[in-house]
């Protein structure tokens, strides 16, 4: 008997626990609930996001925002499924290089008529371009990071090399010469973490005037690999294979993987995203002296490509206007600064970029902020077929070139000849 009643109690408890109900949309009293899916993941940045949501909710009792945590790792598949199922969050945090499919697929709202004029004018045109697909704008680019050289100050000082600044950066040739000077024994001037070689190469190539993707008069895009496109790949290749000034072992690594060697003094410099500073502050041995240097410059100065983080509105959202209002609130200059500081990145807004907190010497914020004006839309992110070109053609070709198993001629043949075959299929 006792056993039976206990079983019944357990069953009832399980049933109670399992009973779920969905929420969202409009309640009976006319109150709106928006879902905001954020990909913030580090504590500082999650806290900043949650705090802003709290402030919004306090000020807007009729438009409540629910914070939903997403993950960078799986955001594309997760969003695609929720779009198809009509259950997507109203406000979506993502990155501009992930938006093309969703924008062309009609899942995201065109924001041109939804956003207020002051937000449109605060963010520069070259940033808007990162989220423009066809005629529409499908995301508000709000955080971005340049690739910079994080350097071991002690090694640079000891070698007596000229320290570059955003006003007077190294040229690519000078960079190559410096890394050669910094190398010797088992030490390398630079460690290129090139697990994802294509975006790094394309983005940095903008400085040398490399574009690789050219849109013809008929609107079709073709790949070329001219002298300007070759500057960056050649520099990396020569550092690894000719000068021995870059470690071949790090070519397959991600950024974080190079840090132990960097801290141990094995590499004098590592080209990394600006936000890696946070990891360095957290992980560097006590007394480790590091600094941020601008990436080398070329014919087009310090220009480089970026794919900023974006906020978008789902096309299916019944409350697009309110969602846009919330985005406007999140991206008011002081709020944009809070988000930027939380993620150790740069804001896109011109007002936000003026904030004193982004011009301090501490953790070299000033150096990064000085580069903001040179950031452009990553080449090719809106080219249809880019993803396949990248995965099937460019990634293996660049990896083999950098590791020395193929030469420049073969690289060129693959990127251009094989590459154009891929692109052609998407542009019939």
């Amino acid at each position: 008997m006792r056993r039976v009643s206990r079983l019944a109690a357990v069953t009832a408890a399980v049933a109670l626990l399992l009973t779920g109900c969905s929420s969202g949309g409009t309640a009976d009293d006319g109150r709106i609930t928006l879902e905001f899916q954020s990909l913030a993941w580090q504590k500082e940045s999650v806290d900043a996001n949650k705090q802003l949501v709290k402030e919004w909710n306090a000020a807007h009792p009729d438009i409540q925002v629910k914070y939903v945590q997403g993950s960078w790792d799986s955001v594309h598949d997760q969003l695609l499924t929720s779009f198809e199922g009509g259950e997507a969050p109203d406000v979506i945090h993502d990155a501009s290089d992930d938006l093309a499919d969703f924008a062309y697929g009609g899942y995201l709202a065109d924001l041109r008529d939804l956003l207020p004029a002051h937000l449109k004018s605060d963010i520069p045109q070259h940033s808007w371009e990162t989220a423009t697909f066809g005629d529409g704008v499908y995301g508000v680019p709000f955080l971005q990071e340049p690739r910079v050289l994080i350097a071991n100050s002690k090694i640079l000082k000891a070698a007596g090399v000229r320290i570059p600044t955003p006003e007077k950066p190294w040229s690519w040739e000078e960079f190559r010469a410096v890394t050669k000077k910094l190398s010797g024994g088992k030490k390398f001037g630079v460690a290129w973490p090139l697990k994802e070689p294509v975006s790094a190469t394309l983005n940095l190539s903008l400085s040398a005037g490399g574009r690789m993707f050219h849109r013809g008069a008929d609107g079709k895009v073709t790949v070329r690999f001219d002298a300007a496109d070759q500057v960056v790949p050649r520099t990396v290749h020569d550092q690894v294979d000719t000068d021995g000034s870059a470690s071949g072992a790090t070519l397959g690594m991600g950024g974080s993987d190079t840090l132990p060697g960097f801290f141990a003094g094995k590499y004098a410099m590592v080209p990394l995203g600006f936000s890696y500073r946070q990891q360095i502050v957290q992980q560097a041995p006590k007394g480790f002296d590091w600094q941020v240097l601008p990436a080398p410059a070329g014919r087009d100065g310090l220009a480089q490509g970026v794919s900023p983080q974006t906020l978008s509105v789902a096309e299916d959202s019944p409350h697009k206007k309110e969602a846009a209002q919330f985005i406007d609130f999140l991206l008011r200059p002081p709020n944009m600064v809070r988000l930027a500081l939380g993620d150790w990145m740069l804001p896109t807004g011109t007002e936000a970029l003026k904030d004193p907190a982004l011009h301090t010497e501490k953790h070299d914020w000033a150096t990064g902020t000085a580069l903001a004006g040179d950031l452009r839309s990553a080449p090719a992110q809106s080219v249809r077929g880019y993803a396949e070109w990248k995965d099937k053609v460019a990634t293996p070709a660049l990896q083999e070139y950098y590791s020395g198993s193929i030469g420049l001629g073969e690289l060129r043949k693959r990127l251009v000849k094989d590459g154009n075959l891929v692109l052609a299929r998407y542009q019939r």
Partner: protein, 284 residues
Amino acid sequence: MSRTRTGIRPSRPARAGQYLALLAYLVFLAFPFLWLISTAFKPPRELASLHPTWIPKDPTLANFRQAFDEQPLLRAAANSVLVAVCAALIAVVIATPMAYVMARHRSALSRAATGWVVVSQAFPFVLLIIPLFLILKNLHLINSLPGLTMVYVVWSLPFALWMLVGYVRAVPPELEEAAAVDGAGKLRTLVSVTAPLLAPGLVATALFAFITAWNEFFFALVLMKTPERQTLPVILTHFLGAEGVADLGPLAAAAFLATLPSLVIFALIQRRLTGGMLTGAVKS
């Protein structure tokens, strides 16, 4: 048994070799787990050391504190336990009678069913997720633990069935015939005679279903939206950032805790898995 009588025993070197191979295999299996434990107790500076050590030089519980501070691990674990246990139980309860019929009554229908089970395994889940999502949405089961449990039951059922059919076949039909002679009906035979003998099989199948549900990530990611209902594997990805950057210490700490339930369950029931309950049941 006959081995000892006939005296065929592996020689000493062969035995040593066997143990050596077993040891090597154990090391191979244990290495990632031990490394995970070691990582979980290391402070950030040690994680970025060029010469990592097995034993943390400066062990800390900070990673665990941070993991619990930043993510609702306990609630996620409770969700995972609930979903996985329910899915395992339901799958076994449904699969047992099915397996019994399929093993004992061979007909065109049962053969077709077996075929279907095999075929159903061939569908990749990316193909299923969108229709499944739509079905669950119409049933208002998106973002609900019963919905997720249902998915896991359906997901593990074919293989659970497949496993159990094998176990049922191993039970000598003579025992059931004996029960029938004593006047037991089909259901009574299944409950009182076959099921107890199937215990190791039932346990193994339940374990399989449990582990499948416990580790499952993608369905949980897509179907559960509110943080209050997310399961552990989904919460674990919140320690990962863009471009493979990860908060390694807290991630390792949380992942270590997430593997504990499986380890504990295995430790508790492994004896059942190897039990030889049928020894001497029938003379053959």
